[in-house]
Each structure stands twice: as C-alpha cells, then as structure tokens.
Point group: C2
Amino acid sequence: MNRQATRPRAEQGQLSIVLVDDHAIVRQGLRSILDREDDMRVVGEATTAAEARVVLDRLRPDIVLLDLKLGTGSDTEGLELCSEITANHPGIGVLVLTTFLDDAYVLEAVHRGAKGYVIKDVDTSALVSAIRTVARDESAFDSRSASVMARSIRTAPDEPALTEREQGVLELLATGLSNRVVGERLFISETTVKFHVRNIMRKLGASTRAEAVYEASKMGLI
Amino acid sequence: MNRQATRPRAEQGQLSIVLVDDHAIVRQGLRSILDREDDMRVVGEATTAAEARVVLDRLRPDIVLLDLKLGTGSDTEGLELCSEITANHPGIGVLVLTTFLDDAYVLEAVHRGAKGYVIKDVDTSALVSAIRTVARDESAFDSRSASVMARSIRTAPDEPALTEREQGVLELLATGLSNRVVGERLFISETTVKFHVRNIMRKLGASTRAEAVYEASKMGLI
DNA sequence: GGGGTGCCCGTCCGATCGGGTAGGTGCGGG
DNA sequence: CCCGCACCTACCCGATCGGACGGGCACCCC
C-alpha cells in the first residue's frame, strides 16, 4: 500500500478507475479484485458525491464505478452525480454498481448517461468484464438489468412521474389518512384530494389507493 | 493466496472466521480487511445457506459474518440460517452484517440469537472491533441498530407476526383487490376477508388498508 | 376440562371511496 | 395569443370499507 499515485493517469494501456461507494468493505473488495487485473488500476476512491466531484475532476479516470446509494442522504444523490459526470466529463465511463435491482433506478441511470449497470452480487469475472466493456465505450448491462429495461420499454412508455402535489398526497395516503383529512393537512378541499388520488392511481396503474401505495413503495416513491 | 487452510481451526489465539455472503465483492472486501488483522483469520466462505451449513459444520469457526440477504430466494433464508447456527453450534458467534438497516430484521436477528448486528457501511475499524466484541461473547450493535431496538421495545411490544392467512390476504390487498374479490380468490367469504383485514391493520398499527400496505412494505412483509 | 389461538361465517350501519359530470385559475412555450 | 399543464373546486351516485355486534369449528397445551 505504499505505492505512489501522484500521477493522475495510469500507465499506458492501463485502465484508470475511481471507486465511488460509501461502504468501506465494498471499496476494499473492489480494490482487491481489480488489483489482480494487470490492465486495471484503482487510482482513487470517494465516499460521497461531493468528494467524488473533487476526485474525478482531479484524476479524470477512464472508468468510475459508482454506487447509486450514497450515504443516508437523498436517494437521488448518486443519480445526480451520474448526470454531472456524463455532462462534465464525457471521457469518463460511468459503470453503475448497486446492491440490488431497482427497476426505476436502472432506467434513471441509463437516462443519465450511465454506460453500464451491474448488481453487486455478480461474480468477479463478470464485473471486470463489464469494466472492459465500458472501457471500449460499449454498454454493459447484466442480463437482469437488461430484462428490466426491456420490460419497462414495453410496459411503461413514459410517465410514472408524479407532480409535486400528487407526491404530497401520496405520502399522506400511505399513512392511512382519508381524503378529507389529507385535504385538511394540505389546505385543499376533499374534492381536490380525490382528483389527485385518481390521477395518482392512473399514473401508477393502480385501481385502489392500497395498490397505489404498494406500487409507489416498490418504485421507491415513498 | 497460496496459503493452505486445511486445518479447521486457526492457530492458538487467532479468531477463525467464516464469511457467508452472496456478494463476491463483499467477501473479497472482508477478506482484505480481516487479513490485515493479526488475530483474525478467514478460514472459509459460503454464498448460500446450504453451503454455509456444510462449511460451518466442518470448520466450526469462532465467528461467522452472516449477510441476511442471501441470493434472490426467500427473504427469511438468512434468518433461518441464523437460528440454526445458534441452535446447533452454540460456540459460534453470529455477527449479522447487512447492507442497510431494516428494523424488523434487526429484531428478528436478535431473537434468533445473533450476537451482533452491523451495517455494511461502517468503517473497517468498527467492523473488526465488532468482531472482537462478539468473540468475547458480548453483544455488538452499532448505534443505529441499538436505537432501532430501543425504539421497538417501547413502541412494539411484540406481535407484528401475521398468520399465514393474514399474509395471503395482505398480498392480495396490495394488488388493489376488494374484500369481495380477495374472498373469491381465497375461497372464503367477504366477511371473513374483512375479519382478516381488520386483524392485519391492528397488528400493523394501521387505520386503513392503504396504511397497512405501506407498513407491510416497509417491514418487508410484501 | 378450560383456555388460548387460528380460522371461519353472519347482519347491521355510517363513513368513505372510486368514478363520472361540470367548471375555474395561473403559468410557460410554441 | 392560444394551448397545454398543474392545480383547484363543485355536484352526483353506487360500491366498498371499517367497525360493531353476534356465532361457529378445530387445534394444542396446561
């Protein structure tokens, strides 16, 4: 561990990689795995989005392995970082690496320019092969991610996007409040609440509020 | 990596450890971290509950680091394994290691004899210290886990346990079916469905079916 | 045998939901 | 300037829910 890493880029032919993950255990695991590959070199690590911005700006690696769930903060922190990287550093290939498969997240990550999406429970050879794929500027999605995308394309054309108001109504719905009480909380009439509830159910493809809550919960909206 | 590990037990004074986790990355990370500690030695690994049974039976380590989420199968696989280990191998200290904090899981793990509960995003020193704590046969819970337990003690005396029937009703509830239709699906009368729904709501502390679905979703029941 | 629990069923009723109709406002982009 | 969109409101109505009574049967454990 006494190697110097002063140079921003790895040697010729080597892929420089930065790890962004708040789990020390995972970072250590990735390091161990990647250090065994002759053509790869982990040149930096970051544990938060803020730290990642600094590190990436300075090191400009070929690849960044990005965990979308960063810390306990906002769930979109990792996604926003993903957008930023692809916008500001087109040369950096973003390979998203998460713990489990979340349909909404896969799609969001793709929209935001991730070149690959890998679940952490892949074996090590699949991971390094995904990295090489992204390094060739191709897309790397494991079979499960791919099926998620395929499914979403044929089932959900676009719009599960709830408006701000609907989101607020939805959150109160989940706590078991009636339309009338939700209206009182949000200072709107019961009629309006019903209006929003119906729109929520329509957008989520649910036929009752209970199902809407279930779908929203699955999609991570609440 | 060419060391032999033929002997089931580590040398005198060393803690023998077995890793049970389906993520290769995590296992590798744990190995790297623990191998740096002079008094610890990773003597085996397992990726599934079945594999773990064999490995633990043969190696009988001092400590097992157990990820509760094993594979894509049943969510209770890890918990059941936890029970088995504490029942069949009282000498093995179970330190549960999961990706994120799930209130219900922490409690379940404790009930089933886990001596410690650590979230994967702790830093490495906290992890090794937790291992040493468990090795001394003390309890090791990080502050967040401890607060979950404290909270559950004062808010939920015991019984979120749903009966099999209630579980079935709950799952259909989440799909937005009415009491009548749920009854048709389960070949019971609508009245009986209402009976179960009310019991579900009571057990989950919910006042409507929507809230019940939300709570159940949070608790990982559906 | 009593007591606990899971499971099953019924009737009654007021409150609420789901869905339809009809409108209005404000704000931004083509 | 008009269109779309988010947001708000009102009336109506049948279906459903949530909760309150009442009952039953089978099981296991003390």
